[in-house]
Subunit: 495 residues, 2 copies
């Protein structure tokens, strides 16, 4: 989940100074419109220690109209809080209609910290997460808008910040948990991922923000907040919608191109023909015996391929299946749904092909269509695709709990490489069927798809079912990476 | 939860024969309208063994158009099911749009049975319940209508049926779990109550049906089904709503007066003045020392009074508080919400008065206003009050988990007794302020309130926070019952 926040996004001082006034103007307009419509708003700031949540808080207080605003921090529990059920304190800080509460720490803090330090077991932790979902639903059912931010920095950067902090005695005193926290970084991330995944609901989604660069962090926060404000305003019945000169399309920052998780994929890798043949042969042999072992051990496997048009999904799948006994696998190609499938929930057509014990199902395109093509082409409404992240996570959790090994591949190519391949296909007679008008149309929406892929990885790359982002500019590199992952994951499962 | 299904409701053969044709006609109309609107419907039949679920199934197959219908039973797991994640089998039986699946047993059966026989622990059971909520939400988000029936009979009746069954060798063979189940009746009810409560959501509520009398059971099933069908049809966008000559108001059975949980309260009880004074004095003394013990042990207590107008809530509360040191309790009278309260979630104004450790809060009227006056007077929409049951149960669960003792009293009087008291109030100068136009208006809605109270008890009388239905026609009887309950519950808590 957090890999999408380790991309190295940053914003220059010039961009920041250019964007900030526009953003603030729009935020204030939206804030006042929400006030007029009597919508209550809670903004939750949470995440890794040292990511600069305090600075975000200051920035928001500067940008927003503080007359309609209240901030709360949950540092330590007061006597009067301990004496009452835990949520009493959260009910106290919920904003009345028309006002905003910014919560520094929240109902998430204690459960995550308690679990990271193993002070509570898994079951009570899960119970707390369910309680959180109930609480947030209850508030949003009542019309509240809850915007949840999670600020992330890589461990390396945190270490640097701790070092820098040592020189500043004053600051150290302010953050007593800093070092203690650092030691538990891995547990903290693991527990946080679980918490975020479980509570990443359509009605109250998480926004994971990369916090390595302060200017990017703050602008992104403002942009997300503005989008959330506007979305809530658009949900109001027409008659309650305050008339404000608001250009709904003009979201600031649109011109600041920021990186996505895909930019981390190194597309320059190559492999020699000789090396390629050697490695492939070795791994296909290995896969053959692994697949038979999985069969004998009655172990199910699901692999799933997504990627750009012409990224080589089909070829990669053929290289995998070449290494598996034909009786042990099935390839399911996902095209437009049939009538029978359209009459069912979108997950139904994937559930139906889940393999029996010992078998392997390979999906060529998958349930992620819901948050990719259906999102970009607007076949699904925003409500539908945004709640799909949690639905998909739950679906995959059920597979993994049953013991299914689940592999998810996104084959990435650059736009230039795709163009090259499209042109080749048009030239070669026997490849012309593979290129259609639709492919060219999809290509025009490259940026929209990039955003969708980035969100997809951010929301659905989980500890039990991580995404493998495959470097696809060189088909051989891609195939080696895929085969290797296959052997690794199967190997873990059957021994 | 199940006390509302042990009231002894029955329907005569004549009524049944009169009602059945009307009901069937309307059901068929609604079924075809849903079919045309392409709404998928799942009907779940579950409950106590021996309650006649099989007979209900036959009846539904007779009433509905079987061309649009499929039935499924989950008796034993097939090999191919065991080899896949558990929900695979449920996905298989979900109806396509426009069709109905009747499920005899469902995703509830195995978790409840496993837990009743203590084959699984509490935590995995809770996890299963959350999974169910997720699954049902996912389906209803997709437009599905899921109607959940729970058939209940008292243990005594089950025993009789087992006896009768013994003579019928054939039948016994059909229900192999009958006796095994009987031995675990208490655990089964406890576990079922938990399951129902946790999954009794606004979007997919439970319908607990008293099944002692077959005719009542079947008519009630049909009536609930029809209401659910019509509700779903009304939710369709106007343009998709099939035009059918359907009189939305004419719900069959409206004229068949059936009993409610309130009819079980014995209103004929009396107590002599002498006995009353003796008992009250003794219990008030006991309460006084109990309240101090609770204070010293830092134990919080919440008591809550609801009841008909003029049922004597105020008098009863004064008799309780007379027995408690004035420093230890607060009485919160709930009237129309203040501006500040109206700007918050409806539960907020109750949360804010939750007592500190050692103290007692007594609410004169309560959060149940949401499902009583707000329902009857239409201050809350059906969506709002029907999801409130679960919200309230969660709220009370949080209190009880924190160790709060929670007492809930409904003071019941007959309509005649109320009329007598209203007239007295009008006569006595110093009581005239207690009777208003509104009281007379409420009185006209007696039946609507009776239904609301019955539903309230059915949905919110839980093992940790049961309702106490107080016989209120004789004020002295009521006060004794209340004081006694107070002493009992406080006594359990502090020792």
């Amino acid at each position: 989940m957090f890999e999408s926040a380790e991309v190295g996004r940053s914003v220059t001082k010039e961009s920041f100074n250019r964007e900030e006034p526009k953003l603030q103007t729009e935020l204030l307009k939206a804030q006042h419109a929400l006030q007029e419509a009597r919508v209550q708003v809670a903004i939750i700031l949470s995440g890794v220690e040292g990511a600069g949540k305090g600075e975000v808080l200051s920035r928001l207080c500067k940008w927003l109209d503080i007359r309609g605003l209240q901030t709360y921090a949950f540092l330590d529990e007061a006597e009067e809080e301990r004496e009452r059920p835990r949520y009493w304190r959260f009910w106290r800080v919920m904003p009345p209609r028309g006002r905003i509460s910014i919560l520094f720490g929240s109902w998430y803090s204690q459960p995550i910290i308690d679990r990271a330090f193993r002070r509570v077991g898994k079951a009570p932790f899960e119970r707390e997460l369910n309680r959180i979902v109930d609480f947030e639903r209850l508030q949003t059912d009542d019309g509240a808008l809850i915007v949840k931010f999670w600020y992330h920095i890589p461990k390396k950067l945190l270490k640097q910040r701790i070092k820098a902090d040592k020189k500043d005695k004053q600051h150290e005193a302010n953050t007593p948990f800093f070092k203690k926290f650092f030691k538990r970084f891995a547990e903290f991330l693991e527990v946080s991922e679980r918490a975020l995944r479980k509570t990443d609901t359509g009605f109250c989604p998480w926004h994971v923000v990369e916090a390595s660069d302060g200017r990017y962090r703050d602008l992104e926060t403002g942009r997300i907040l503005l989008a959330a404000f506007r979305k809530r305003l658009a949900q109001l019945p027409q008659k309650d919608r305050p008339v404000k000169e608001m250009d709904a399309e003009a979201l600031p920052l649109a011109e600041v191109k920021t990186a996505t998780v895909l930019d981390r994929v190194d597309l320059t890798q190559t492999v020699s023909d000789k090396e390629y043949r050697k490695v492939m042969e070795k791994m296909q042999k290995k896969l053959y015996s692994q697949a038979w072992s999985a069969y004998l051990q009655r172990h199910n496997t699901v692999a799933m391929f997504e990627g750009w048009d012409a990224s080589g999904k089909g070829g990669a799948i053929r290289r995998v299946t070449a290494g598996i006994d034909g009786r042990l696998f099935r390839v399911i190609s996902i095209a437009a749904p049939t009538d029978e499938e359209r009459a069912q929930h979108y997950l139904w057509r994937f559930w139906r092909h889940i393999p029996r014990a010992g078998y392997i199902t390979i999906y060529d395109r998958s349930w992620y269509g819901r948050v990719l093509v259906e999102r970009v082409e607007k076949f699904a409404t925003e409500t539908e695709w945004s709640r799909a992240y949690r639905e998909i996570n739950e679906f995959e959790a059920q597979l993994c709990e049953h013991g299914v090994t689940l592999m998810k591949f996104w084959i990435h190519t650059s736009a230039e490489e795709q163009l090259k391949r499209f042109k080749e296909r048009e030239k070669l007679a026997w490849k012309q069927h593979k290129i259609t008008e639709e492919d060219w149309r999809n290509r025009e929406k490259w940026t929209a798809y990039e955003d969708a892929v980035n969100d997809m990885v951010a929301h659905t790359s989980t500890d039990y079912a991580p995404w493998t982002l495959v470097a696809g500019n060189d088909k051989k590199v891609a195939r080696v990476q895929i085969l290797r992952t296959f052997c690794e994951r199967l190997g873990e499962a059957i021994d």
